[in-house]
Symmetry: C2
Subunit: 370 residues, 2 copies
């Protein structure tokens, strides 16, 4: 099964337990999950091989594998909160998110599933926004909502909050950096409840997971990935919204930015985005005009990423590849060339290292030893 | 002689008198001037043929031809004010302006000729500018001036005034819509004096000409034409600065716009320019980066426009072509096709009509009967 199929999928209960066990096991991220399931044919088969692979990768101690009991406990706790753990292709899993290379294999979804299936536009910006910025975000969210779009944002203070509030009636979706029961910021618990009443909330994190700083950039890929495009309303230079814009561009999403005076530091980031090629917008019509042609096209899977693994690399391959790696990120393609091994062997060794917690994957095909 | 030569030219006194007589005669604009001089070989020869051509074009009354005495009087009056009437290619005639199709055959120039020969950037915008807009225009003019650019603008209130004032030391040029002795707005007489003391002022209008509304768009082509690019700082929709930006684009000049909040009506015009492809700028470096590659290139003449005229169209050609014309503008190319006459004959008939005051030339090769 292609774990990213945009067509209708339905996991059996047993499959869902296996998938949850695999994605909740140590050192398994969305990309590793896909490699493993593609190679071993199922999450169940991958789970059986996990200890072996991690040991070969040189794990200092046995990697923790999520037990069936823990997985069932999480599924039950989710049910009580109204959180379903959905696979890409299941109803309620945002279709554009489902086709990303690093789509969460199971996404915790709360709220109105039909809203999550509709075309989304993300509106993001400063927590510390100006009155004009907040007003503009509200107006834009309302107008896009009236035009039938679902508004995606990150539940933060400032622009996010304004965008969510103004689109409650039409439907809005909060992408969370922590578990569904760890609302951040805590004072937005009521706002989240209102969002979920008519729209939805999604998280890839387990219940009980309090969001850490590094979870926010990771969460940002859900905001842009689920959307046709991202509007950045106000952003200082080097702010989180610009990270979302960069990820959006990498995902092939439209990037829109709201201009502001060069004398206003809260517009420095958005003006800079426009200099770099983002589309300047001043009203909802600008956004709609840009995304309408995209909406007509079928949602396409990204480049297929089911590169085969090797049956088993030998010890000398493993030693040679590990020897080439260090703390400085190196391009996977360069590594394959320098290792004088087949791509399948290099990928397998990297997977083993990853499962052993010894490998870090950066953007753009870069890897380094931890 | 190519009347637009960017290379060094020097008119004799007699030529200058003839040129001035021709351009100051009824119904002779810069383009007609060039057609006539190209066809008849000199301004003197053209002056001799003028009455004949206008009569054939059906002038209601004999077209007024500027006398030698009037021309000499204007030249002398100019000298007293420090105004020289310069031809394209003469030192003090801005080189980029000199190569335009509709470059003034004689430009009234006051001030420091070397400043008028240096690379210019135009800064324009609302008369009714905000404090932030005025501050930005000042800062930008100062920074571009410090980087060696001469600042061109229109001596208006608001943005123009700020740009001129901030660049007095480095050199700034005021492009006037009326004669040099008819300063508009009148309260900027002191500012103009300060501008001319270290920079310059140019006008294609005779002394004593008080600017009318239609002279401002015409003047705007001098602002953009003399410059590498035009920066629009603040502009409402449908404002005069946007006309300058449109002309600049038609002239192949860079168009820069300063962004502003969508909630600020004074930024609506500049944001719109950016939507249409103008370059968003927030600082002088953005402008410099864009114009530097252009500065390195030699200044090129536009498309040669010395299409031949016919020795003499016959009466039936004339009647047929006039019959095809009306108050609705028609494309010159369509007219040539419909008239089933040679382009040279159509051009000659149009020139006759123009000299008779019966033809209006619009942008984009459109003509209509008056």
């Amino acid at each position: 099964m292609d774990t990213r199929s945009p067509t209708t999928t339905h996991l059996t209960d047993a499959q869902r337990v296996d998938w949850l066990r695999l994605i909740r096991s140590d050192n398994v991220g969305p990309r590793t999950f896909r490699s493993l399931v593609n190679h071993f044919g199922s999450a169940r088969a991958a789970l059986e091989r996990l200890p072996d692979l991690a040991r070969r990768g040189g794990a200092a101690r046995p990697a923790r594998i999520c037990t069936e009991a823990d997985a069932r406990t999480e599924l039950l706790a989710g049910e009580k909160l109204g959180v379903s753990l959905l696979a890409p292709g299941e109803a309620g899993y945002p279709p554009r998110l489902a086709v990303l290379d690093d789509a969460p294999p199971l996404l915790g979804v709360r709220g109105a599933r039909e809203v999550l299936m509709r075309p989304m536009i993300a509106i993001v910006g400063s927590r510390n926004a100006s009155g004009a910025g907040l007003k503009f975000a509200s107006q834009l969210a309302r107008d896009l909502s009236d035009a039938g779009f679902v508004i995606a944002s990150g539940l933060a203070r400032g622009i996010d909050q304004s965008a969510h509030r103004a689109s409650l009636t039409g439907g809005t979706v909060a992408m969370l950096a922590g578990g569904h029961d760890k609302v951040y910021p805590p004072e937005h618990e009521d706002l989240l409840a209102a969002i979920v009443a008519s729209g939805g909330a999604i998280s890839e994190m387990p219940l009980g997971h309090a969001p850490r700083a590094r979870d926010f950039p990771r969460r940002n890929r859900l905001i842009s990935g689920a959307s046709l495009g991202v509007v950045v309303v106000e952003a200082a230079l080097r702010s989180g919204s610009l990270i979302t814009a960069r990820i959006a561009a990498e995902q092939g999403r439209e990037v829109f930015a709201v201009p502001g005076s060069p004398l206003d530091p809260r517009a420095a980031g958005t003006n800079d985005l426009i200099k770099q090629g983002a589309t300047l917008i001043t009203e909802a019509a600008d956004v709609i005009q840009a995304v309408e042609p995209i909406m007509g096209r079928p949602i396409e899977l990204g480049e297929p990423d089911d590169d085969p693994l090797a049956p088993e690399p030998d010890a000398s391959d493993r030693a040679r590849i590990v020897g080439l790696l260090g703390p400085t990120p190196v391009l996977l393609d360069d590594l394959i060339r320098m290792a004088e091994a087949s791509p399948a062997i290099v990928r397998t060794v990297l997977l083993e290292l990853e499962l052993a917690g010894r490998l870090e994957r950066h953007g753009g095909g870069l890897v380094s030893l931890i």
